[in-house]
């Protein structure tokens, strides 16, 4: 159980769902251990949030456990999407913890947002990687193909293939490089629109989150990521944090768990 996720399902405002998919990780694997690591390293956090004056245990967070992952990614995403849609139908906010970034496609299909906001080192705009359109390197492209999604805003991106940068130049994609994230303003782009927030932990500089499969230097500061989460959370009806693996001493998982809690506190505070 995610620490503090003590609510019963029927009373929940937020539902944590583990999605330990580890099928297309392209360098170092281990995202299958992500949900477990994130739950473990969230144990040290205090229940009380001084900024908002709220207790995590009073915000109606339920942990549904993991949706066991297998190697048929299409079938897995379909089942995961259904599990997350049940959360949406219960008027709660799904909080998916990965697992590789591919799982965001299931979250977006369940929530059907208009704006996809993503913290990520990578553009993830390939049409296919090694011939696989379901690869974690293609997830933002797949999400842009969803009917409800009008645009993607990718913060912290600093690498991609030439094909990806060409796709990123189109009107429905905004890329904010790491050095511009702190001063970036969403303006009114989130007003009266439904958002989905995805945090790929490799958006952080590898110094802060080495436990991830494709580290990319010159990344975001944790406080910059935190501020983005705080700003987007009130407008987001779905959230995930992905790409945490077990190849560090808990730094990546700790940051992931903290950002999930920041999302919950900020979303609840804005109600």
């Amino acid at each position: 159980m995610f620490p503090g996720a003590t609510a019963d399902r029927e009373d929940a405002n937020f539902v944590v769902v583990g999605a330990p998919l580890d099928a297309s990780t392209t360098f170092e694997p281990g995202t299958r251990f992500g949900p477990r690591r994130i739950r473990t390293f969230a144990e040290t956090f205090d229940d009380y949030d001084v900024r908002t004056g709220q207790y995590f245990t009073e915000l109606g967070v339920h942990d549904e456990g993991d949706v066991y992952a297998w190697d048929d990614v299409t079938a897995y995403l379909e089942f995961l999407e259904g599990t997350l849609r049940d959360v949406v139908w219960d008027d709660a906010v799904p909080l998916a913890i990965g697992g590789e970034h591919t799982i965001s496609a299931a979250g977006v299909r369940a929530v059907e947002p208009e704006v996809f906001v993503c913290l990520d080192a990578h553009l993830d705009l390939r049409d296919a990687y090694d011939g696989n359109p379901q690869s974690h390197a293609c997830v933002t492209r797949r999400i842009l193909e969803e009917e409800s999604v009008e645009e993607a805003i990718v913060l912290g991106a600093r690498t991609g293939s030439e094909e990806e940068w060409e796709r990123a130049a189109e009107a429905d994609v905004t890329v904010v490089p790491p050095e511009e994230v702190a001063d970036f303003s969403f303006g009114d782009r989130l007003e009266d629109r439904e958002g989905y927030l995805s945090v790929d932990i490799d958006g952080a500089d590898p110094a802060y989150a080495p436990g991830t499969g494709t580290m990319e230097p010159f990344g975001l500061e944790p406080r910059e990521m935190r501020d983005v989460v705080r700003e987007v959370a009130p407008h987001a009806t779905g959230f995930d944090v992905v790409e945490v693996n077990d190849r560090d001493d808990g730094q990546a998982a700790s940051l992931a768990g903290k950002l999930l809690r920041e999302f919950v506190f900020s979303h609840a505070d804005a109600r």
Partner: protein
Amino acid sequence: MAKQQKEVRDLQEGGYVVIDDAACKINAYSTAKPGKHGSAKARIEARGVFDDKKRSLSQPVDAKIWVPIIERKQGQVVSVSGDDMQVMDLETYETLTMRIPEDVDVEPDDNIEYLEMEGQRKIV
């Protein structure tokens, strides 16, 4: 409600199932693999046949579940009066009154197909 018992694994998209005491038509069926320590689960997404409400359930594939017995019948429109129509059942020649759905346009002598379960009817 007239119903029969099946296992969740026997259900399929396009078929019917009882969820929350309501007859529903299944529009999505997905299964999760069990791994070494779990049991295979199925998730069903369905819509109420007579109330159009979306419902879902998630259960092990070997769980028992009720399937409603819904009859598919043929009828002929005898007359139309406001939002209602008189329909003659082409099997029993019984005449019954049915509400005309908003998205359906009918005229006398039209042949229609409808679902019937315990006095509830819906044009298909």
